[in-house]
């Protein structure tokens, strides 16, 4: 009993170092993880899919996809997996950990960047470093997917307008024959500069 306790603590310490969560938070998340996985070691898409609260979320697919995206798991790998363990789960969650009182400005900036990267990865589904028009359209479509058939047609126009806006902000003077391939992360940062990415 005692041994397992220290082992668990040791493990927690390890995770805490990696993710920046506190013990308390890790414990809570672990409970939730077990609840979601049905006391299994790993969690699958189906587990997350069945969360009732998510049912109405228009971007549910993308959120769940982000959990299984290796890019978000600090592993320097690409592609997605079918099952994730608690550690990976925690890694993904760590993008959204709240800053505490001791967080310095640089750390905050780093966290902000991390979060933006997370967002960017969600948009950039084929991982080529740019959000192309097709990908952007898909994002907007998903966003409007709960609003019925009005959404479909307009989504395209909105994505086009948004893309155009990004292009005009970042590449002000473009000849008619040039081609703006898509939003790179730097441009994405530029676009998102004005809102404060703070979260739970």
């Amino acid at each position: 009993m005692g041994a397992s306790q220290t082992r668990a603590e040791h493990q927690y310490q390890d995770l805490a170092d990696k993710t920046g969560f506190s013990f308390e938070q890790i414990k809570n998340l672990y409970q939730r993880f077990q609840q979601l996985s049905g006391n299994e070691e790993t969690i699958s898409r189906a587990n997350l899919d069945s969360i009732p609260a998510l049912a109405n979320n228009p971007i549910r697919k993308q959120i769940i996809g982000a959990f299984f995206d290796k890019r978000n798991q600090h592993q320097d790998e690409v592609g997605s997996c079918d099952q994730i363990g608690f550690e990976q789960f925690l890694m993904v969650m760590s993008h959204f950990r709240p800053p505490n009182l001791r967080t310095t400005d640089e750390e905050k900036e780093a966290m902000r960047k991390e979060k933006l990267r997370f967002l960017f990865n969600m948009h950039d589904s084929d991982n080529d470093g740019t959000i192309t028009l097709a990908e952007y359209r898909k994002v907007v479509e998903e966003l409007l997917s709960k609003s019925g058939e009005i959404g479909q047609e307009t989504a395209k126009a909105i994505a086009d307008a948004a893309m155009l806006e990004v292009a005009s902000i970042n590449v002000p003077n473009m000849g008619p024959e040039e081609f703006y391939e898509g939003i790179t992360f730097e441009h994405f940062e530029e676009v998102c500069i004005f809102f404060n990415v703070s979260s739970t």
Binding site: I51, N56, I63, I150, A161, V166, I169, G175, V191, T200
Partner: protein, 847 residues
Amino acid sequence: MPARRDSHSPAGKSLPERGLLLLIVLVLLQGSVLPLGATSSPDTTRNVDNRQVKEEKYNYTKKAFPVLTLDYHHIQAPFEISLWILLASLMKLASSLSVACDTGAMTEHQPVAREDTALLTGQEAQVLQGPDGQRGTTWLDWLSVRTQLKGFHLIPRLSGIVPESCLLITVGLLVGGLIKLAGEDVPPVLDSRLFFLCLLPPIILDAGYFLPIRPFMENLGTILMFAVVGTLWNAFFIGGLLYAVCQIQPANPSILHKIELLPCLLFGSIISAVDPVAVLAVFEEIHINELLHILVFGESLLNDAVTVVLYHLFEEYSGAGTVTVLDCFLGIISFLVVSIGGVLVGVIYGLLAAFTSRFTSHVRVIEPLFVFVYAYMAYLSAEVFHLSGIMALIACGATMRPYVEANISHKSHTTVKYFLKMWSSVSETLIFIFLGVATVDGPHHWNWTFVTVTVLLCLVSRVIGVVGLTYVINKFRIVKLTTKDQFIIAYGGLRGAIAFSLGFLLDNKLFPMREMFLTAIITVVFFTVFVQGMTIQPLVELLAVKKKQEAKRTINEEIHTQFLDHLLTGIEDICGHYGHHHWKDKLNRFNKKYVKKCLIAGERSKEPQLIAFYHKMEFKQAIEMVESGGGFKMPSAMPSTVSMQNIQPKKPPPAKPAEKAEKAPSQLPKGREEEIRKILRSNLQRTRLRLRSYNRHTLVADPFEEGFDMNNYLTVPAAPPDSPTMCRARLSSGKDTDFKPAQQQKGNKTSPDPQSYRAKPESDSVPTIQVDLASPQSPDSVNVMDEFRRAGQQQRGGGRGEEDQGLMMRPHKTGEGADGKDPQKLTRCLSDPGPSADEEEDQPFLP
């Protein structure tokens, strides 16, 4: 002070203009002096005398019918009110002009202050003459004085340094002083009834209606903490310590010894509340970042409930002299009732207003009225029960806004906006002027100890309160409040006219110290408004506090904000942690599902926010395209030559109008062209309908009415279009097509002259897309042109007349052909489409 208005006149004004200004000043003078003399004359006997004399006269000379009679008494009250308002408006004008003058012409002599004295001597003379004196001679005197002093502009300008509120108070002081000098009684201008029933509501409604909901809700916890706990702390700290100080100095008997604890606490509760009027006035000028603004301003709004309860509680019990535990308990209950009740009343009226606006599509003219009347009713209803009227107004305005905006027409929206701004700014000006007048008037009892201690305690308790509370709040906040933020919050705690009015309400018998209280309150108000108000701007600069970002809301921002919202909700759901995103999402869904359906007419209720936003934006861009033609002012940030082509090379998708017009209109892809035509076609239908349904109560003018004077504007003289057929004929002849070249000039370079874009020769060699232009039997295309032309004319003629943009060219929402079928929507469009994009409101309305 009135001279401030024409202070810029020597700066390159011609003589006649100067004369005109002089005239205005004269009128103003008459305006400001006459009512003072009249209102201040308590001797109604004299008026009665006059009347008697007059009547006697009638009796004697009962010969002829009196062709011209003078009965000032008849119109006295409204006349004086209007004159006060006129004075306030002119002051506003004056301060804005002098600011403009200051910033503009630095080398000019500043004719400000000296002329003031000149004017004031004139005023004085008039006042001395009394309302019944020979004004003519006075004016002459005054004129001579003024001309004599015209050259001396010695005292340097103030308005660059001094905030408007300070200037206005000074004006009030001077006016009050003059009345005093004239030996008249100062009218009780800052009477509590007048203040709370007439002057305060417009300001609060304006604040509530345009409350930035998102930041407000995100910081609600902090705001409530400051507003409730902070105000309580301030009240008790100030009251308690003040009492303690009063009890010291036992040696020499002083009046302060007689003050009991409860009056002290009452005084503390009056003086501790941050004043929304003062905060608004000062913060509007310093352009601080949104977070700090909403924190201080939100606090000033929400602390009303605490103040009301404390005030009534202490007033009630100061007679009895003791407060029991039960009373405290009741006080807490009362606080909950007052605040929650106020909000409830507001929400109910807000929903009623929204519901009413659903049905106003046929009577557009009175639409804005509902907003005002319901809001005022909410305020009054809350005041009936001594609930917090301010909270009711805020709740009412914030509740009704999203629904009302979706329902009312674009023009009505503009009307609402302008009326709110107009009323609130006049009220604000009046309040500050009255504050000055009341200061001169009030029976003062200056007690050095009391006043000094009060000012000190106010400062100290504010600082301690803010620092202490922030320490607690920061534990819960994600974006922590820095030391700088805390400093600005503490320093921005201005007191104002509400405190004064509350003090004014005190009963003299119950509170023998009333005069001393009033003096102290006024001192604190003056101290905060003058010292803090004047120094806060330099301090903000010095500390390099983040300023407000003037960024326009872009479509990307909207997309990502929404995406992030959903993402965070999703993450919270996965965590199993129900944070505020979760509840916000629930609320949003409830709103979309039920509330919007009930309160918003037509299909707009189903429109998702993103789409609504997009439509607004698209509409704006289309307008801008038409408006600009050649010389284009890029709506978003920077000029760009990026077009749809650049982001998607394969098939030519619809290009965005803004970019297209900006770049030589070389690419107008087929799809886009079709879209524009659809929009315009449907607008034409509206025009037809408009022509038919014109009557006195629809604000929609004859579409050609505008065309008449706009024609003067055109470079090519054209006969006023008198009938659609005429237009069509002319259009078909290709003479009067404003928009056509924008489509036509494929390959042509955009002409440098912005006006001449319409006059581009139509070279037949250039491939044009105005397919049907030459064939009058195809009405669609012609109508397209017609519509566009008129829209363009309006745009150019009306300058930035945004209300007129609404007339046409509403980008289509969904089914393009749905127009004719849906009568409700049709009538909606009849006058114009809904409110335009949000950034309009974000523009500083006042200079």
